[in-house]
């Protein structure tokens, strides 16, 4: 019997400070035992528990793509006890990763569809993974039009800036990068809140168009009516929840909402599913 609580040992291979306020860092991990990488077979939208002995575990969405080999990446916002400690760790340090956990975005269903990615703030990690995967030459033809609306408070708060620029230069993806506001004269992308930009830039809803929405509660609250207006059915709106979790495998009970466990049955849900569930997230 495999112990589902046992993390794989990993080494921190690289740490990238993503934002100007240094509250977000991306950690690139390499598995100490190469076999563990094979066991850690994941798809975009899943998460893992980052495990620091002495501090505990935190559930974090996987920011790398399964198309990237040899490492896994997580972008972590410094907020609680474990994340604060993690931010103080150094390249070369050993810790643990347990996963992959939860359901990915429904890739089988999404094949052949137009995809609109809507993200805000630091909830862009599994979306980054998704975009990276879809843009891979092996995958791009499996999807129709790709739209991305990604916003942050300010230019310096955007994640993955170099990749964003590279994607913006491509013609097989419609990138709409926006900030709430900026005085930067060199800012060449959009200004405005994500819901507003969504209203202006997102394609109209159709049976073949799916929106994947991840962001802070306030963004989601105001984006949802916009998607309604654009004609998106609630079955075609896909979201990812974050609740307090411990075990990550639907056993410890704390992320329970209705008959679902966010960790095991989610974190990905359609809006139709969420409409039937208590709003305890």
């Amino acid at each position: 019997m495999q112990n589902p609580y046992l993390p794989y040992p990993v080494r921190i291979d690289e740490i990238i400070t993503e934002t100007e306020d240094k509250s977000l860092k991306t950690f690139k991990f390499v598995f100490l035992n190469p076999d563990d990488e094979k066991k850690f077979a994941y798809a975009s939208g899943q998460f893992a528990e980052l495990s620091i002995p002495g501090l505990g575990e935190i559930p974090i969405g996987i920011a790398s793509s399964p198309m990237e080999k040899g490492f896994i990446k997580f972008t972590v916002f410094k907020t609680g006890k474990v994340t604060s400690y993690l931010h103080s760790m150094k390249e070369g340090d050993i810790m643990g990763v347990r996963g992959p956990l939860g359901h990915p975005f429904p890739w089988d269903m999404l094949e052949g569809k137009n995809i609109v990615i809507i993200g805000g703030g630091f909830a862009f990690t599994t979306l980054r993974s998704s975009i990276f995967s879809m843009l891979d030459p092996a995958n791009r033809s499996k999807f129709g039009d790709l739209h991305v609306i990604y916003g942050a408070r300010a230019p310096g708060m955007l994640l993955y800036k170099e990749e964003l620029q590279a994607w913006a230069a491509r013609d097989d993806i419609h990138m709409n990068i926006t900030v709430d506001g900026t005085d930067d004269p060199d800012w060449k992308y959009l200004k405005g809140f994500v819901p507003t930009i969504t209203e202006e830039k997102a394609p109209p809803g159709s049976d073949d168009t799916y929106a994947i929405v991840c962001g802070p509660p306030i963004m989601i609250k105001f984006t949802q009516p916009v998607l309604d207006k654009l004609g998106y059915s609630h079955d075609n709106i896909i979201m990812s929840l974050e609740n307090r979790m411990k075990c990550g495998i639907g056993i410890c009970g704390r992320c329970n909402i209705g008959e679902k466990f966010v960790c095991k049955d989610g974190p990905v849900f359609t809006l139709s599913q969420l409409n039937q569930m208590p709003k305890e997230y």
């Binding site: 019997m1 495999q2 112990n3 589902p4 609580y5 046992l6 993390p7 040992p9 100490l32 495990s51 620091i52 002995p53 002495g54 501090l55 505990g56 575990e57 935190i58 907020t79 609680g80 006890k81 994340t83 340090d93 050993i94 810790m95 643990g96 509660p217 974050e242 609740n243 307090r244 411990k246 075990c247 495998i249 639907g250 056993i251 410890c252 009970g253 704390r254 992320c255 329970n256 909402i257 209705g258 008959e259 095991k264 039937q276 569930m277 208590p278 709003k279 305890e280 997230y281």
Partner: protein, 357 residues
């Protein structure tokens, strides 16, 4: 399997004998109440109890349990790598389990032993354990097992059922594990032909002694949100002080927390029972808490047991009718009252029957 009849002396001798093959646990009176404990040599269970104060769940699922050990010694090769701890696999037997508590194990198993994940700690302990039940000849006023999926002579979750008849006991092995335990105890002596009737009569009398009940027949047909948004939660939760008593004494409450504790350069990752009554249970690192208010947490406990579980597993309620939470709740929140409210709630008229049973 054959029904065996033994006297009290043979029962005691057998339990003592079984200790050579099993770690035997049983109810023992400590101060004013009975609780389960590991029986030492020559220590016998005390069957003069209605039910124990705490359920036997902690034998399989201790309140605090070490999961891993780790070293923070930078000179060690294993520094910061979690190491599994030796897991129980020695045979255990719990003697004198009441049928209500016995049913709690198959219920809890649905959580700990799912098709996708096996909680190795729970599953190993469960599989290593033989459950030797003791039928209830009379119920407490707070017992409602007969409407919670079992009864005073219920067999689900048991490997052996003992039925007390005066100074004698009928021994009914129910599973292979049970037969093995009966063998280890050396219990033998076929009961006479009338034993079946005798047991049936005791069972009938015991079932009649269960005087309270819950109604659960309509829980499934209501939508989650209908019950969730029902108007009675604030009122029903008013007296609650959000302690963890109900969840800790409940045989079917399974939630836990995981904690690391470091001592010098080494430490343990452990789990401890947790409770949905505690605000911290769901509090995000950001400070946001999806169940911030007391009534939301009270609602969660009852919705989980009486609606979410019911819908998820289609196998009755997550409650065995042992009545512990009723007897021990410091402020008299009575699951029977809440269950009947939920079951009778009519979303259109916004009304429900209020009588506690």
């Amino acid at each position: 399997m054959t029904l065996i009849k033994i006297n009290k002396k043979a029962l005691d001798l057998g339990i003592e004998k079984a200790k050579s093959a099993y770690q035997v646990f049983g109810p023992v009176k400590q101060k004013n109440d009975h609780d389960y404990k590991r029986l030492d040599k020559n220590e016998l269970p005390d069957f003069n109890f209605q039910n124990t104060r705490l359920s036997p769940k902690s034998i399989i699922y201790p309140q605090s349990q070490i999961m891993f050990r780790y070293s923070l010694d930078e000179t060690s090769d294993d520094c910061r790598i979690m190491k599994e701890v030796e897991n129980v696999s020695a045979p255990m037997a719990i003697v004198g389990v009441r049928p209500c508590d016995a049913l709690s194990f198959p219920i809890v198993r649905r959580n700990f032993d799912s098709p996708e994940y096996q909680d190795t700690y729970w599953v190993k302990a469960y599989e290593a354990t033989t459950f030797v039940g003791l039928a209830c000849n009379s119920a407490c006023s707070t017992c409602f097992c007969t409407s919670a999926g079992t009864g005073p002579f219920g067999e689900e979750g048991l490997d052996v059922l003992l039925v007390a008849d005066g100074d004698d006991f009928y021994v009914k092995p129910l599973t292979e594990k049970g037969t093995a335990f009966v063998g280890a105890a050396g219990w033998s002596g076929t009961a006479d032909a009338s034993a079946g009737e005798k047991i049936e009569a005791l069972k009938q009398a015991a079932e009649t002694s269960v005087t309270s009940a819950v109604k659960t027949d309509k829980l499934r047909e209501k939508t989650t949100l209908e019950l969730y948004d029902a108007p009675f939660w604030q009122e029903e939760a008013f007296s609650c002080i959000n302690c963890g008593t109900c969840t800790y004494v409940c045989p079917t409450c399974w939630c836990f927390d995981v904690q690391d504790e470091t001592f010098g350069k080494s430490g343990i990752r452990m789990r401890n029972w947790d409770s949905c009554m505690f605000p911290l249970f769901t509090s995000h690192a950001s400070g946001h808490n999806p169940r911030d208010a007391k009534y939301q947490r009270v609602r969660q406990r009852f919705m989980h047991k009486l609606k979410y579980y019911v819908d998820k597993y289609d196998n009755g309620i997550q409650c065995v009718g042992c009545g512990r939470c009723i007897r021990l709740c410091p402020v008299n929140i009575d699951i029977r009252r809440i269950c009947n409210k939920m079951n009778s709630f009519d979303a259109e008229s916004c009304k429900c029957e209020t009588a506690a049973s």
